[in-house]
Symmetry: C2
Subunit: 246 residues, 2 copies
């Protein structure tokens, strides 16, 4: 993958310009952000932030995928967030990180030093409002996820995760009036297990079962095609109509 040239992207050309925390900013505000931003690249597998560490920056994922995880002393881990391009990392007003953030693919971050960002936020309602909006969306996602974790069977969990990824992909590639869709799984079986509160063996078994039942098709380990999204939604235990329009 070729990452965008580091430290040289003009905000106006930024691929996440209208989805990230800066989405509502006007030219002046963008200039102020521009003055305190810098880019940083992380390799696949590399930690971005470790729980308990001092946070010196906040920022947005520009490209790539990262995971937010929580770990117990005995090693059990639960993913609590999946960070995609435009998602915000860090919490203004808090010093220590509460979660581990790990790059799952190569990740490019647009970082802001925390102190200047917080000061800017106080003066810039457009940023604060956008951040509120994004946080409310994340809270909704977390709550949908809680239903998945607390009440769904292993098969439903897998179907739910596939549906979420498929839906996101659809929003980025807004074509395809048909019912079928294809995408690359950005997660290992283990990461899927951590997402869903399962073991990786159970994930593997349920993937095989969904494949055997014709709900999904697999090409290699990572390429998934869903012949009938409605069917997948049924398997997820959701209203089949709630599909594409979120």
């Amino acid at each position: 993958m070729n990452a965008p040239t580091i430290a040289s992207v003009n905000c106006g050309d930024c691929p996440i310009r209208h989805r990230a925390v800066c989405a509502r900013c006007d030219a002046d505000e963008l200039g102020a952000l521009d003055a305190i931003k810098y880019y940083r690249t992380y390799e696949s597998g590399q930690p971005i932030i470790w729980s308990g560490d001092q946070m010196n920056f906040v920022g947005s994922v520009v490209s790539g995928i990262a995971t937010l995880t929580q770990t117990m002393e005995d090693g059990r881990t639960q993913m609590v967030g999946l960070l995609l391009p435009s998602d915000f990392v860090g919490r203004p007003g808090r010093d220590g990180a509460a979660y581990n953030v790990v790059a799952t693919t190569e990740v490019v971050m647009c970082c802001f030093r925390k102190k200047p960002f917080e000061e800017l936020m106080v003066r810039t309602p457009h940023i604060a409002h956008r951040l509120l909006e994004m946080t409310l969306d994340e809270l909704d996602a977390a709550r949908e996820w809680m239903l998945v974790l607390g009440r769904k069977t292993a098969r439903e969990k897998i179907a739910s995760l596939l549906a979420i990824i498929a839906r996101r992909d659809a929003s980025l590639t807004p074509k395809n009036a048909t019912n079928t869709m294809s995408f690359d799984l950005p997660l290992t079986r283990e990461a899927m297990a951590d997402y869903l509160g399962l073991t990786l063996e159970t994930v593997s078994r349920q993937m095989s079962a969904l494949k055997k039942d014709g709900v999904i098709e697999l090409e290699g380990k990572r390429r998934v095609t869903v012949p009938d999204m409605g069917r997948l939604m049924e398997e997820a235990g959701d209203d089949s109509d709630g599909g594409l329009i979120g």
Copy 2:
């Protein structure tokens, strides 16, 4: 319980004045809120908002306890939020309710008609900032909860819930340097089960087990006393030191 007199509380005397969405407001701003607020009381068990309904208001819980739940078509339900005094209900910028909100005890709400509140929020950064702060706290709580739902055993789940309630109670009654504490469970066994992604039978069994092992003592069905908070935290699978300072 005697509720505060309805429609006659001055914001300055409000019990949630410095914790709710209005916490940061100055006198003028409070006046503006005052002009669009009204109180409403719900009896125990009564629905406050039903998922899918049009939302005409947003507001704060003044007293009592309410639950936020999500339901699947076949009836499986998962609690996704526990609303205590000062917690905010509703999402500015969205018309339809996404969850069921039900009063678990008698509940008094301080309501704002949605439209005027949204307009006021745009003009009043103090409100938007406080709401952002509260939403970030809720997101943190939701993520801690996800670890509970996804990775903890039934016994750990129960211990975690008891620890959360105990900690909250401690923050309201800031005395008690000792290790022991007492509180009333505000939830039925079924509500606890919905909170934790368990069945009510399993909740009952694990409560009995924790009692038998001396982790908790029960007086009647609802009064719980914890002789040793450190022990409870261990049972919850948390760092025992993370206890009182959140």
